[in-house]
Point group: C2
Chain length 210, copies 2
């Protein structure tokens, strides 16, 4: 097996898009979630994110990485602005039958357009929660803004949200709290644009010294 | 399809392990990486993490979530301490044939034990980089500590590293910089303990308004 070795200077010398594709693949498989928000004046926004990461279970916290607010992709910036304006957002798993629609939310639509409408997904509201869920998603959460950190190294924003609502299909949940993401057909992403289904290979017990 | 709806108070009322399993499943599929470090006095450490997240491509940055340094799991705390002491660490993809060994690194071994040795993985060194790689891993990176943020909400630490070395099998990389994680047999994790292989369903073009 032939091994390629890249150093910092090799990365710097790569064409920008090659470097972006490569580095986006290096962390491994990523989550695929649609973030639903609504601006203070009522414009809904929907955007795909692959950066949701578990922060803690009690309280239930997730972190999301946002590109610098000056970045060109409006849909991600609108998501951030709406969360800051309203304090609430939803996280909706992308599953196999909505992959194309979910990916299409990353296009640069006009400021007053709802990505729900343009990509053909349905906003869903529940009592006492202001942000729109994706009706077509199986596993979805409502979150409340908690805090954020500006990453000095590149001005990305790491935003922390608290999970306050969870909606999921009963058949995906076992008595121990484990969620069967494959039964929900949740997908995973690699790099910038490649979507995958998963197949369970093993569940391992809590590790103790042998 | 019957839908379960949990709110903040339902989560608070759950048994601790049920809540932990459920909330750990909610972000979706996660990356599975082994972090290799060496203490200043030369003790190697290896620990599995599912929290690596892409931060930026230029410079090439990753973020990792560490539990509070007071947490019970020594292997994760040793990883953090070694990174702070030496400034360097490696990130090594977990693939199908090392899943059991990788998971076993999360057991509480004595302070002076090397998880490489106890789980049966091989430390690998390259010139001019002090932290150990996992020889058995196909895709691996050497990183330099950049900065960290203490998440006020629960005292976890979000640590940023810069990718300075990349080692990967040439057959996994295409001319556009895309890495085929399935060809490398990289696995993905759900919840606390369930490992999966992935199968590509589609690669989608850069999205533009239709």
């Amino acid at each position: 097996m032939s091994i390629k070795h890249f150093t910092t200077s090799d990365l710097a010398a790569m064409p920008r898009f090659t470097r972006t594709a490569l580095v986006n693949s290096l962390s491994g498989f990523k989550s695929a979630n649609l973030i639903g928000t609504k601006s203070r004046v009522g414009v809904e926004n929907l955007a795909i994110f692959s950066s949701a990461v578990h922060i803690g279970a009690d309280p239930a916290l997730l972190g999301i990485v946002f590109r610098p607010v000056t970045a060109d992709r409006k849909t991600s910036r609108h998501t951030y602005e709406n969360i800051k304006e309203t304090g609430f957002f939803t996280l909706n798993h992308v599953h196999t039958s909505i992959v194309e629609a979910a990916h299409q939310t990353s296009a640069n639509y006009p400021d007053n357009a709802s990505e729900f409408e343009t990509v053909g997904l349905t906003p869903q509201y529940i009592p006492n929660f202001s942000a729109p869920f994706v009706q077509e998603s199986a596993i979805k959460m409502g979150l409340e803004y908690v805090e954020e950190y500006v990453i000095k190294a590149n001005n990305t924003i790491f935003l922390i949200g608290k999970i306050v609502e969870i909606l999921l299909p009963e058949h995906c949940l076992d008595v121990h709290g484990n969620l069967d993401l494959n039964a929900a057909q949740t997908v995973t992403v690699s790099g910038l644009d490649t979507y995958h289904t998963a197949t369970e290979i093993t569940r391992l017990p809590y590790a103790r010294p042998k």
